[in-house]
């Protein structure tokens, strides 16, 4: 019976007017969306966390420094391949879920319980080209350092004598 009501609730969600919001808005005007269905988009960052049926990911706005935790089911995880970090652009996902400022289930966490996740842009690994000019600069600096260190030690020896 419990499962039936849960299913009914999930099926009813798409009928509910889920508003598309930016993550920043969830921080600045959280009260407005608390406990409601919302749609957010962001890049998956960091790590996949948690064990069992319930997992945690964090998503970050593509253009701003605002990130939020998303609770997702084990099944949904399979959709995500890339987690953003240094030299990796994470998958950009669209999340439909229930937003909580203080999630009672997760001891007060600010989170979104995902009902559906969709990857809208695949992430990728990228390489950074080595800056040759910096290498030349390092060699120049090395020569200067060695020269000054030589002068210091030379004068030290003559002082001791």
């Amino acid at each position: 019976m419990k499962k039936f009501f849960l299913l009914l609730f999930i099926l009813a969600i798409p009928l509910y007017p889920a508003e598309k919001v930016k993550i920043r808005e969830l921080y600045e005007n959280g009260e407005k969306y608390n406990g409601k269905a919302i749609i957010v988009e962001g890049e998956v960052i960091g790590d996949l966390m948690g064990k069992g049926e319930e997992r945690w990911i964090n998503i970050k706005d593509e253009f701003e420094d605002f990130a939020i935790g998303i609770v997702i089911s084990k099944k949904e995880i399979e959709k995500i391949e890339n987690f953003g970090r240094y030299r990796i652009k994470g998958d950009v996902v669209r999340v439909l879920g229930i937003y909580n400022i203080n999630c009672p289930k997760h001891y007060g966490e600010r989170d979104i319980h995902a009902l559906n996740i969709e990857v809208i842009k695949k992430g990728e690994k990228y390489t950074e080209e080595v800056n040759i000019k910096k290498i030349y600069l390092c060699f120049l600096l090395l020569s200067i350092t060695l020269f000054i260190a030589y002068l210091y030690h030379k004068e030290g020896i003559s002082r001791e004598e």
Binding site: A67, R110, I148, E155
Partner: protein, 499 residues
């Protein structure tokens, strides 16, 4: 007549400053090593550049000032103040080259915040930062928390000079008869806890499903920033990133240990466990944390609706511990503090931040020993007025040993207390000049000066540069506890107008 600074003072000041800059050149090799492990070539080049730049400046200075002279108090304090600024400028170089900061002043802000163990950040897109840069941010917390001078003591300073420069870095207690031995003990304790807590935090992260290499990388960074009460984290969401009560509990334990006096650590390490129950400063610290948590919680429950009992307790207790110890870790976020903490709770959190941790620890703020001394003095005064005129009232307390309250110790504590409160207020007033509400400005100013790092959102890359500079100065003088900075400023003025 107080002797003026002379040009001869320069010899000692510059010689040891040069040596400490060379030390920084060596310290850059640690993040370089991390960069090589993770094959981060561009960051590796940046660390080589920063290291060579430090070596060249350091050698240039000691080449011009080669004499290893004994230094006096004023030279010691000047070196301590000056070196923190130099480390800020040089430590900011790889950060700025990383491309994660808008301006060099932003990188300097972050560098001072790390060294002074504050934890306020201006970094952009932290979640995509290279591991080696991120390691450097946390490693600077470790260096600054332990003390730049304290590290130098192990290598350069000997004899009478050692204690004079040691005091300049806001440390008065000699845990062991010799300051070099004291420095060795502080580093020993820190490295032991580093190993223990890296293993614990790393294991918890693995249990949470994070890959082993990232688990231990996060663990070592979180420990360095937590133990040294800095509050930096590897990801932009700070401790909230982990969504874990267990991480909350372990980090709380680390920061309380970091905020406890190394004198108490020494007593416990040498088997004197009763010292925990007898130590006046530690007892005052614990009572203060409990009372402030209780009243902040009451205020939070009264004014903040729709939050259950346990969630409220988790958030409130974590922030009071974080603020009181001066770490600045958060399991919520700056908007949460700004929007959902009622004024009553914010004021109590400001008080917790202003008090700070214990003396001779890695935390900032007024320090609990000074608060305790002033409370004892109050008790002595009340006793004195209620006793016959001829009665001499003696007030004693136990802090490692039994100590009688003296007028001079109360006087010094009162001066430092007044200086801290005045700086908190001045920073708060400056914040209002830029249009921020007074309570929020006072919160941010206290957080900067007491080297805490909690924020209500004022600190961000778009804040006015003058305010960034204000907070940099607050972090610097707050970390060095005023006196050595005042000696340094007096030195600068006496150079300009020799009499």
């Amino acid at each position: 007549m107080i002797p003026q600074f002379s040009r001869d003072d320069l010899k000692g000041i510059f010689h040891y400053t040069g040596k400490l800059i060379i030390l920084l050149g060596y310290l850059f090799l640690f993040p370089l090593f991390v960069a090589l492990i993770y094959k981060e070539w561009n960051p590796a080049i940046d660390f080589i550049f920063s290291s060579l730049f430090s070596f060249s400046i350091g050698y240039l200075i000691i080449w011009r000032f080669p004499e290893e002279v004994d230094i006096n108090w004023r030279q010691g304090m000047t070196i301590a103040s000056l070196i923190w600024l130099i480390y800020m400028f040089l430590g900011a170089i790889p950060l700025y080259l990383s491309g994660h900061y808008n301006l060099y002043i932003d990188a300097c802000f972050e560098s001072m915040s790390a060294l002074a163990t504050t934890g306020l950040v201006l970094v952009k897109n932290l979640d995509h930062m290279a591991n080696s840069y991120n390691f450097w941010r946390h490693f600077m917390c470790f260096i600054g928390g332990q003390g730049i001078i304290l590290l130098g003591l192990l290598i350069f300073f000997r004899g009478a000079s050692a204690f004079k420069i040691y005091v300049g870095e806001a440390r008065e207690e000699k845990i062991l008869p010799n300051v070099v031995q004291t420095a060795k003990f502080i580093w020993l304790v820190s490295v032991c806890y580093l190993i223990i807590f890296t293993l614990i935090l790393g294991s918890i992260n693995i249990i949470h499903g994070i890959s082993p290499s990232r688990s231990f990388f996060h663990a070592i960074c979180i420990f360095m920033a937590g133990w040294d009460t800095a509050g930096f984290a590897v990801q932009s969401q700070n401790i909230a990133y982990y969504h874990s009560i267990l991480i909350d509990i372990i980090t709380s334990l680390i920061v309380i240990l970091g905020a406890v006096s190394f004198g108490l650590h020494y007593a416990v390490w040498t088997g004197k466990f009763k010292e925990i129950l007898r130590n006046y400063e530690f007892k005052t610290f614990m009572v203060s944390i409990i009372l402030l948590t209780f009243f902040t919680f009451i205020g939070f429950m009264k004014f903040t609706r729709n939050v259950d009992f346990f969630s409220s307790f988790r958030i409130v207790s974590y922030h009071i511990i974080s603020g009181h110890t001066g770490v600045g870790y958060t399991n919520a976020d700056s908007y949460y503090l700004k929007n959902y903490f009622p004024d009553f709770s914010l004021i109590l959190l400001i008080i917790a931040m202003g008090f700070g941790g214990c003396s001779c620890s890695t935390s900032g703020g007024i320090k609990m020993l000074r608060i305790g001394l002033i409370l004892k003095e109050l008790k002595r005064e009340v006793k004195g007025y209620s006793s016959p005129t001829s009665t001499v009232v003696v007030e004693k307390f136990h802090h490692i040993k039994d100590i009688s309250l003296t007028d001079s110790s109360v006087k010094l504590s009162s001066i430092i207390l007044i200086m801290y409160i005045a700086t908190y207020l001045i920073g708060g007033i400056i914040g209002t000049f830029f249009g921020y509400p007074f309570l929020h400005s006072l919160f941010e100013s206290t957080s900067a000066c007491a080297n805490v790092g909690l924020s209500v959102g004022i600190t961000n890359p778009d804040m006015p540069n003058s305010l960034k500079l204000t907070y940099i100065i607050e972090m610097w003088i707050g970390r060095l506890e005023f006196i050595s900075v005042f000696v340094f400023i007096r030195y600068l003025f006496s150079l300009r107008s020799p009499e």
